[in-house]
């Protein structure tokens, strides 16, 4: 159990940020896709810039993980179709449900229990992808 505490704490931190930043709000996602506010772009943009900085720092300083290997991000497979088609399908759902996977879980904590239907549907979607995987262009 002890080795999982740190992940639990990171999760708590993540949940708090996403609520306090309003990124869990359906309204903010709608606003983003309407290009009517800088808010969400600011969040994602500053996260990416900070992320690039931290990863560069880790590489330059040769930082190691708690498991004693170098800090390294696993590479995504090369490809185009799966990213553009899968991404577009994800985008349709993101804009309709107003929540991506992280916020879905976090919204449970805010007491918005109807999000459980969205989560159940997302599980179904993942399951159907698993069934059709071999037949889809990747």
């Amino acid at each position: 159990m002890g080795k999982y505490i740190k992940f639990f704490l990171v999760g708590i931190f993540f949940g708090i940020i996403l609520v306090k930043s309003e990124a869990v709000s359906w309204y903010r996602i709608f606003e983003m896709f309407k290009f009517q506010s800088f808010h969400m772009y600011g969040i994602i943009g500053s996260a990416v810039v900070t992320g690039i900085f931290l990863l560069t720092l880790a590489r330059v300083l040769k930082l190691k993980t708690t498991e004693n290997s170098y800090i390294k991000v696993p590479l995504k497979e090369r490809g185009f179709k799966r990213y553009i088609i899968g991404g577009s399908i994800f985008g349709l759902g993101w804009a309709l449900a107003g929540a991506c996977p992280g916020p879905m879980y976090i919204l449970i904590g805010t007491g918005a229990l109807s999000i459980l239907i969205v989560i159940a549907a997302a599980l179904l979607g993942t399951f159907v992808y698993g069934l059709l995987r071999e037949k889809l262009p990747h």
């Binding site: 949940g15 709000s25 709608f30 600011g42 990416v48 498991e67 497979e77 991404g87 985008g91 904590g109």
Partner: protein, 185 residues
Amino acid sequence: MEYILQPWPWYISGPCIALVMFLLLYFGRTFGMSSNLRTLCTIGGAGKRAEFFNFNWRSQKWNLIVVLGAVLGGFIAHNFLSNPINIDLSQNTINDLEALGFNNAGQSLLPPELFSWDAVFSFKGFLILLMGGFLVGFGTRYAGGCTSGHGITGLSSLQLPSLIAIIGFFIGGLIMVHLIYPILF
């Protein structure tokens, strides 16, 4: 304390999210929330129906723990760290939503027009949540990541596949909001 109780500006929230990504890398893991959907399918026995779900889900236990923490974090932030104030949406957004039939935009996290129990138990409302969730679950696994995996982790490590996925996220999102919403609402 007053600063904590107010909504956090993007330039605080964004770097904090990057910190979450970095902490998980530091612990030898990768930040990605949608992987948990696959893990939950596997726990539910989906491996009997599709090879994709045949993996040792215990290797992903840490990520489920992150999710549990996130739920608690959401509870704490919502109940103890927030003054009840409206989301400061742009006036254009509020007007556009009103034209679509969404009133009082920003007075709650989620629109009651979609997420109240009345809405959920109407045929149309239920279908909307069902479709939204399904597309997210299907699309994220097809694309191999979501906003956290591609958007934050992938872009931070300058990976081209993630950039393509993000472009896809926006193609889908823009089609939904600009072309499909006027038909749906």
